[in-house]
């Protein structure tokens, strides 16, 4: 039971990081990122591949964050310089193409077999209660990212982001280079998603392309909208509630006889999609509205 709870809490922490990253993009700046899972995958794969190649973890992790950020900068620059309404499709397409790449370029990514035996950082220090230690590490990361993003939100930079979200013409008239701010916000979100990926890969010790399906992006969106977009605490609360929802519906399998694995997954995703739409209509500010 403790093992189960530790595992659940670790995954909540990872999803909370994803939601915090999306909050900078959508919550503060109003940018639609439908490729959250792509940056998650880049973080997991970069750190995982480097780690199994024997690179020490601080170096591998830094590389993962840098590559996530660069990918975010490239996409954001391509889309935001000209047509913001294309950002959604460019990010969605990027997620799909990246997954094709992970599946097919086995020379680099090991293809459908995935990466096995990703070493666990600092395992020598805590050989006994390593899972608890790792949970602590994830919790520490969530706390740090939360504090940094809270500072960002309150800073003059954060105010500009919110001004852009509300009315970018006004922000531009006030002398702000709107595109630059948007790209910066997008990159911050991409790096945080990359960090979540790093923790994910090292935690499972095994990653493969089908762990990074589009529904992961949808889950992060639901977490953020449910918790309260624009509110960093909301993002974390949303991640907790989402996992409660996903894990809770798993128990439905024991209660309803005709629910097979495929059907359960389908019902879960229907629920998530419907909840997202319902929240958009009924309570777009989420449980913890932006202050």
């Amino acid at each position: 039971m403790t093992g189960y709870l530790t595992a659940i809490a670790t995954l909540v922490g990872i999803r909370a990081l994803l939601a915090l990253g999306l909050n900078v993009q959508w919550g503060l700046t109003g940018l639609v990122n439908l490729g959250v899972v792509a940056f998650f995958a880049i973080g997991a794969y970069t750190a995982g591949l480097l780690a199994v190649a024997g690179v020490v973890w601080p170096l591998a992790w830094s590389a993962a964050l840098v590559i996530s950020g660069l990918a975010g900068a490239g996409l954001a620059l391509a889309a935001l310089r000209l047509r913001e309404d294309y950002l959604a499709i460019v990010t969605l397409g990027f997620g799909e193409v990246l997954r094709l790449f992970l599946l097919n370029e086995a020379w680099l990514t090991r293809g459908a077999n995935g990466i096995t035996g990703i070493p666990r950082p600092l395992h020598g220090w805590f050989p006994v209660h390593y899972d608890l230690f790792y949970l602590g590490l994830v919790a520490l990361a969530v706390a740090l990212v939360y504090l940094v993003l809270e500072r960002v939100r309150r800073s003059p930079f954060g105010r500009v982001l919110r001004a852009i979200r509300e009315d970018e013409t006004v922000a531009a008239v006030a002398g702000k280079t709107v595109v630059r701010f948007k790209v910066q916000a997008f990159v911050i979100g991409a790096v945080v998603a990359g960090l979540a990926g790093v923790f994910f890969g090292h935690y499972l010790a095994y990653i493969e392309p089908n762990m990074f399906l589009p529904q992961e992006t949808l889950f992060v969106w639901l977490a953020l909208i449910l918790g309260g977009s624009g509110n960093n605490r909301g993002a974390i609360l949303g991640a907790v509630l989402l996992l409660g929802l996903l894990e809770g519906s798993r128990f439905a399998k024991d209660l309803i006889p005709f629910l097979t694995g495929v059907r359960l997954a389908a019902a879960q995703q229907m629920l998530v999609g419907a909840l997202l739409v319902a929240l958009m209509i009924r309570r777009p500010e989420g449980l913890l509205p932006e202050r």
Binding site: G30, V32, L34, A78, A79, L82, R83, D85, Y86, A88, I89, V90, L92, G93, F94, E96, V97, L100, L103, N104, P214, Q215, L218, W221, I225, V262, R263, A265, A266, A267, Q269, M270, V272, G273, A274, L275, L276, V277, M280, I281, P284
Partner: protein, 286 residues
């Protein structure tokens, strides 16, 4: 290796199928001012609606196609009523997010009922026509013919009928259209119904040309988007042209890159367009 003409012909068929949802997607985007990501899933709905009556009730594929055409139109209309209408005056991006939610509900509804297996229609086997080494399937010819006919009908409707002209007016300037007393909601309802029907019909074609599974249409949304952008948002002939270009490029691309990357062609087209000509091939400079 088959001649290059074979790739071009297959590309035209793919493009013809792609044209139906692309035109729907492009017109709805202009009219409602948000990219509806659920349009791809409407193809899946159409494919399975036809599958249900074709296998379950033994209907001929022609009747099953008509049925799918109607059912998908109705599903799109209901989705619009339930999910999009309450959000009409919100930021366009809120609608785009909601459309992703709708797409997941529909796709997984299909998965819940039929599972993840690959299926195909019950159709009589026909021999392909061979002409100078070019293989032309009879189904392919029928698909291309119906797709072209539907495109002409859409264009005629938009150009010639009062309702079509009203629809274009609403898309160009919704405020002015409303002030002038056009029934905007009815126009949107009709456009959604028609757009959904076109996408559903295309879904059956795609199922005939390939196989049917719950991801049939979802993966197509990037190509649809690319076609709409190529043609310029809101232009029906543009979307048709864009779809043909994307379809041919997808097939011809397999000569130089592994076929597994076929679905990345749409993404490449979008990136190239963004960098070179963001207003579309046929669109005016804005």
């Amino acid at each position: 290796m088959p001649p290059i003409a074979q790739y071009l012909f297959n590309g035209l068929v793919t493009g013809g199928i792609l044209a139906l949802p692309s035109v729907a997607f492009s017109l709805l985007w202009k009219l409602l001012r948000f990219p509806n990501f659920a349009v791809g899933t409407y193809l899946t709905i159409g494919a399975f609606a036809a599958f249900a009556v074709n296998h379950g009730l033994g209907w001929r594929i022609e009747w099953a196609w008509l049925w799918a055409f109607g059912v998908t139109g109705a599903v799109a209309w209901v989705a619009d009523r339930v999910a999009f209408r309450p959000l009409r005056d919100r930021r366009p991006f809120a609608l785009a997010i909601a459309s992703i939610g709708v797409a997941f509900v529909l796709e997984n509804g299909v998965r819940f009922i039929w599972g993840n297996d690959y299926r195909s229609y019950d159709v009589p086997v026909t021999r392909a026509l061979v002409w100078h080494g070019l293989r032309v399937g009879r189904e392919q010819l029928a698909i291309l013919g119906v797709a072209v006919a539907l495109m002409l009908l859409v264009q005629g409707f938009l150009d010639r009928t009062r309702l079509g002209i009203a629809m274009r007016a609403s898309a160009d300037n919704p405020l002015l259209a409303r002030v002038k007393g056009l029934p905007t909601e009815r126009i949107i309802g009709l456009a959604t119904l028609g757009g959904g029907a076109l996408a559903g019909g295309a879904g059956v074609f795609l199922g005939l040309d390939t196989t049917i599974d719950p991801l049939l249409g979802t993966g197509l949304i990037i190509a649809v988007f690319a076609a709409a952008i190529l043609g310029g948002i809101g232009s029906a002939p543009g979307a048709l042209l864009g779809a043909l270009v994307v379809g041919v490029m997808e097939e011809v691309s397999t000569l130089v890159i592994p076929p597994t990357y076929k679905s990345a062609v749409g993404f490449a087209v979008i990136l190239i367009m963004l960098l070179l000509r963001p207003q579309g091939l046929a669109g005016a400079r804005s």
